[in-house]
Symmetry: C2
Subunit: 162 residues, 2 copies
């Protein structure tokens, strides 16, 4: 299954978190499961992505939630509208990001993020995320995403930061 | 003036965001102004820290708010207790992080984060942050920080992720 981010056209594919054209980036990839209405992102942090030794850096966890949420928004919106991302690439940016660190996330194992769109309304999507390390829920995320249009990045006038 | 993070003892100085012992990290440094009760963090993103070309990646902005907030919490708590960080290094981790992306943040200029502790109560501190690019407020952050003790990182039982 092709990751949502791989549908982004080249002008929107430079994101440090998830752009396939960013050589120094994290290359986060998110997969959408239409039958469940859920997204999944898997990512194994590098040893240097540490907070206190032994635990994953909170800023990296926020970055994972961020890019996972923008991709989830694109997939959920496409499904809600009956569009294929192949023919209609959609790109969302983040208006607001909330991350609750429920427990320290161990550094080492692959992390799994599971996302669902709680609201799809016009150009706005709200995504809820749960992040698991070895089956244990350690982080809960909520993001408000806004769809951008083709002109974004030229005028610099649109909202969002993710 | 010595940055707050440079008071952290070596076992707490590996953070990818702000640890002076993390060779691959961002080395975020935060300065505390006791007379104003405010912290300041200055950071210039790298060209690859992009979201949509021309704008700073939201995950990096969340990371800046995160480490800036943990340092602000340490300094504010030390001031509230009348302690010197030199003699009493304090270390906070993040329990919750909220970032509102009010406008796209331009990639290129140095960014300035200004923080204040809204609440200092026991081991908990709430920090509010404003992030400016060329004098324009683009991001607003709120973080809940929890002070950790000397045993943290050995037992792995304490809360927090930042």
């Amino acid at each position: 299954m092709k990751a949502v981010q791989l549908y982004y056209p080249p002008e929107w594919a430079h994101c440090y978190g998830c752009g396939y054209l960013n050589a120094q980036g994290l290359r986060i990839e998110t997969h959408w499961h239409p039958e469940r209405g859920e997204s999944e992102t898997r990512f194994t942090p590098k040893p240097y992505h540490t907070a206190i030794p032994g635990f994953v850096y909170g800023g990296l966890l926020a970055s994972l939630v961020d890019c996972h949420s923008t991709a989830t928004a694109a997939a959920a919106k496409a499904q809600a509208e009956g569009l294929s991302l192949e023919a209609h690439p959609l790109r969302f940016v983040t208006a607001s990001l909330k991350v609750d660190y429920l427990k320290p996330t161990p550094l080492g194992p692959e992390l799994l993020l599971v996302g669902r769109a709680r609201e799809v309304k016009g150009k706005k999507v709200v995504v809820e995320t749960e992040l698991f390390a070895e089956g244990v829920l350690t982080v809960r995320g909520e993001a408000v995403l806004v769809q951008i249009g083709e002109g974004f990045g030229r005028s610099g006038s649109a909202p969002g930061g993710g």
